[in-house]
């Protein structure tokens, strides 16, 4: 006979304000099987846990139910408590009477009644719980970082410095990411390249880091501690081991009209190219869409001139498979497509540009060698108008509902840099709100206004149109309550940022949660901000939410700390809630193995006694508990009902259904 203890938490007033916790605890005393029931202000506190431990010992409890917050919050806590008192940790069930009850219901009677049912349901389940033992699995002491921007670079360096092997998989031909495209960085106006490229070089030279550029993750198998990842190494048509980065091929290539994506398509580059001067690896890549040799078979000039003999037109994509213990996702962002924002004339006017394009126009290594010139006629713009929140904080459906977070600061930076370099330039900024939380951020913005005389106009822009070669920016000035039109030479749009689209594929491969805006979901918004709910997967940078460089670097280092903590372990405890076949009922039909996404089920011929001294040999299912992830697909598929799931057995769930429906 089970001896159940029930512990109802007040959670301060979080539960107690809408659920009569004392009544719930009182009612539970007369439930069959319950030998102890109590309530306490904070069950998760030291004292609360002590109360549980004491009750387990004093009343010889065989199972406990904690009526508290979500099991996703404190199940692990209470399992540890039970274990400390000598009870198997899997003899604990949580009744979620906070998130699923007190917080969503207002009527005390109604909420109390529901709480009673939820606790009863948990009691019904725990009575059928069985003690479970976690198995162990080894940890592969190597980490994978997906994305070679500043987030990936920082995470990789920190992990490698702790002594673990790290591979960076970067889909582009070089690491560096968005930060490599930036000119200066706020709020200190450091030159972006000056602080980034040394880190890129550190990655290249670090004996523990392997950079797999121009590569993509194709397949992910396994689980925390034991991921097996297939990586596509895209054909760059240049032998990475031979190329010396001399750039002669770039000079000689006759096909020079490819759009330079590193410069935001503002100028052109040859078919064979190195993305930028400080690229890591400093190895050329051929754009097959543009290369004459690859398209027509005639040309081959780069091969002729390559002294290192690195050009290989026959190169094909190759695949490598590697094992990892942990994976960091750092896939970054891109500015949104502005087709839906026709009112700003981005597609019709060359002189309406995005902030990232301006970044390239102001960069000494950019298409204009750092001289700010209008894309249309190469003239110095005299009046520049910035438009903020283009697609950010936009719930109309055209843009993104969230704040892109970085635009206020980089626009202040741009405005300041322009006024510094070209003091005769007029700079206007249309904004909805200026948001500058962060160390030295507001001071930075104030400098733009007070010291550099940037004209900030509170109001939104209705449209931008071309009149006699001038860009007319028509908007409202909400402070003076008037409609204004500013005749401008250059218009800069602070386009919203969104996660790099490839993150969707990565999320699917890793079975990592993703939200409606394609940001990866963290395990807990406050307490586990760098972990994905999928064990062993960590999130760094904008793939998790909009953030600037300082935040990205902090998050990347936090990821690294988590990864190091994981890789430092020799063995991990596995989830004991796995499938288990009842061999006496199994007829070896193979249906369970067909639905298993992990290949955890195999078949064995086993001998069974039939009685009367007779035996028979039958084929039966065997589950590998280290591989099974405990989804339960096989349990429902099994035609003879031989498969069950530990911790979520059919009997347990049926008893929960019964408890809920009991009138």
């Amino acid at each position: 006979m089970q001896r159940i203890g029930v512990f109802i938490c007040w959670c301060g007033s979080n539960i107690a304000a809408t659920v009569d916790v004392q009544k719930v605890a009182e009612v539970m005393k007369s439930e069959p099987g319950v030998v102890y029931s109590a309530d306490y202000q904070y069950m998760c506190s030291e004292n609360g846990q002590q109360l549980i431990k004491q009750a387990i010992k004093e009343h010889n409890l065989t199972g406990i139910v904690v009526g508290s917050c979500s099991p996703r919050m404190h199940e692990a806590t209470f399992r540890k408590t039970a274990e400390a008192a000598g009870l198997n940790p899997y003899m604990v069930e949580i009744a979620n009477i906070r998130e699923h009850c007190s917080w969503i219901h207002k009527d005390m009677d109604e909420a109390t009644e529901k709480a009673i049912i939820l606790v009863r349901t948990a009691i019904a389940k725990v009575k059928l719980n069985a003690p479970l033992m976690a198995g162990e699995s080894p940890v592969v002491k190597r980490a994978l970082v997906i994305g070679g921007g500043i987030a990936g670079i920082q995470a990789a360096l920190d992990i490698a410095d702790a002594g673990f092997e790290v591979d960076i998989v970067e889909k582009n031909a070089t690491i560096g990411g968005r930060m490599a495209q930036l000119d200066k960085t706020f709020p200190t106006l450091d030159c972006s390249a000056c602080i980034l490229t040394p880190k890129m070089v550190d990655c290249a030279q670090h004996e523990k880091i392997d950079i797999l550029s121009y590569s993509e993750v194709e397949e992910v198998k396994g689980f925390v501690g034991n991921f097996s990842v297939k990586i596509r190494r895209k054909a760059r048509y240049v032998d990475e081991t031979k190329c010396t980065g001399c750039k002669i091929c770039m000079e000689k290539c006759p096909s020079k009209k490819g759009l330079n994506s590193f410069n935001m398509d503002l100028n052109t580059r040859p078919a064979i190219h190195i993305p930028f001067a400080q690229a890591i690896p400093n190895v050329a890549v051929i754009d097959p869409e543009q290369c004459i040799k690859l398209k027509t078979g005639k040309c081959g000039i780069c091969q002729k001139f390559c002294g290192a003999g690195a050009i290989d037109y026959e190169q094909k994509d190759t695949f490598i498979e590697r094992e990892y213990g942990a994976i960091v996702v750092a896939t970054g962002y891109k500015p949104i497509n502005l087709d839906a924002f026709n009112e700003y004339g981005y597609n019709d006017n060359k002189d309406v540009i995005t902030s990232l394009e301006l970044e390239r126009l102001m960069n000494a290594a950019g298409p204009t060698n750092g001289v700010l010139l209008r894309p249309s006629d190469g003239e110095h713009p005299k009046v520049i108008t910035f438009i903020q929140c283009v697609g950010s904080r936009d719930s109309s459906g055209c843009g993104k509902p969230y704040c892109s977070k970085i635009c206020c600061m980089y626009t202040a930076k741009h405005a300041m840099l322009i006024r510094e370099k070209y003091p005769d330039t007029e700079v206007h900024v249309f904004y909805i709100d200026v948001r500058t939380p962060g160390k030295n951020y507001d001071e930075f913005y104030r400098r733009a206004v007070e010291q550099y005389g940037v004209d900030y106009i509170k109001g939104m822009v209705g449209k931008v149109y071309n009149e006699n070669g001038k860009l007319m920016v028509q908007g409202s000035n909400l402070i003076d309550n008037e409609q204004i039109t500013i005749e401008s030479d250059l218009v800069v749009l602070a386009a919203a940022i969104e996660p790099e689209p490839s993150v969707r594929k990565v999320a699917t491969l890793l079975t990592a949660s993703i939200d409606t805006n394609n940001f990866l979901t963290e395990s807990h918004a406050k307490l586990r901000p760098v972990e994905s709910p999928t064990a062993g997967v960590y999130l760094a940078g904008v793939c998790q939410g909009p953030k600037d460089i300082p935040e990205t670097v902090s998050q990347a280092s936090a990821c690294a700390a988590k990864v190091i903590g994981l890789l430092a372990k020799d063995k991990l405890k596995t989830n004991p809630c796995v499938a288990i076949p009842d061999e006496s009922m199994c007829n070896g039909c193979s249906q369970c193995a067909n639905v298993c996404a992990y290949g955890a089920i195999t078949y064995e011929n086993k001998e069974f006694r039939l009685g009367g001294g007779k035996t028979e040999i039958r084929r039966v299912a065997c589950v590998n508990p280290a591989v099974c992830q405990g989804c339960g697909a096989c349990t429902v598929t099994c035609p003879s009902g031989a498969m069950d799931l530990k911790g979520f057995s059919s009997k347990q769930i049926m008893s929960e259904v019964e408890a809920i429906c009991k009138k």
């Binding site: 009527d107 709910p533 429902v636 009138k663």
Partner: protein
């Protein structure tokens, strides 16, 4: 039976919701922490994946007097267990059409995809489902009469 119906003032349905641990249960948690209300007659059972829900559990719920059953899982393609929710979708499509044939209206059964970030959607889905089932009234099909007698 006559007595029972006259006694009842307002019908509130009893709803069993099966939520997968990774998306929908977390979505329900988010609805809670965002204080997005839905009726108290929705009671959630946590399962690792929506594909853990055996048609038997749904039948059991109706047999025991549930008025509606809803399964929530990760969006197609986002299943934590890669393919689990696809099995759910197929299994339940079959089961629900059988149930409909037996007189348990198809509006009483539902499969919905709710991600961990969709607290608002969870609440909206539950509000809508409760409203639909309330309009249909009490479910009498399949109910084990012995359960009623115990009242």
């Amino acid at each position: 039976m006559q007595e029972v119906t006259t006694e009842k003032k307002e019908f509130t349905p009893n709803i069993v919701a099966f939520c997968c641990n990774w998306c929908s249960y977390a979505g329900a948690d988010l609805a809670g922490s965002s204080r997005l209300t839905y009726p108290a007659n929705v009671k959630i059972i946590r399962v690792p994946c929506s594909c853990r829900v055996n048609p038997m559990f749904v039948l059991k719920a109706f047999q025991q007097g549930a008025d509606g059953v809803i399964l929530c899982g990760c969006h197609p393609g986002d299943c934590h267990y890669v393919t689990g929710n696809y099995y759910t979708r197929r299994r339940m499509a079959l089961l629900f059409s059988f149930l409909n044939y037996m007189g348990i209206e198809k509006e009483r059964t539902r499969v919905e995809w709710v991600s961990a970030a969709e607290g608002a959607r969870f609440s909206a889905v539950m509000n809508d489902f409760v409203k639909t089932v309330t309009e249909l009234g009490e479910n009498k099909r399949l109910t084990d009469l012995r359960v009623k007698e115990g009242e």
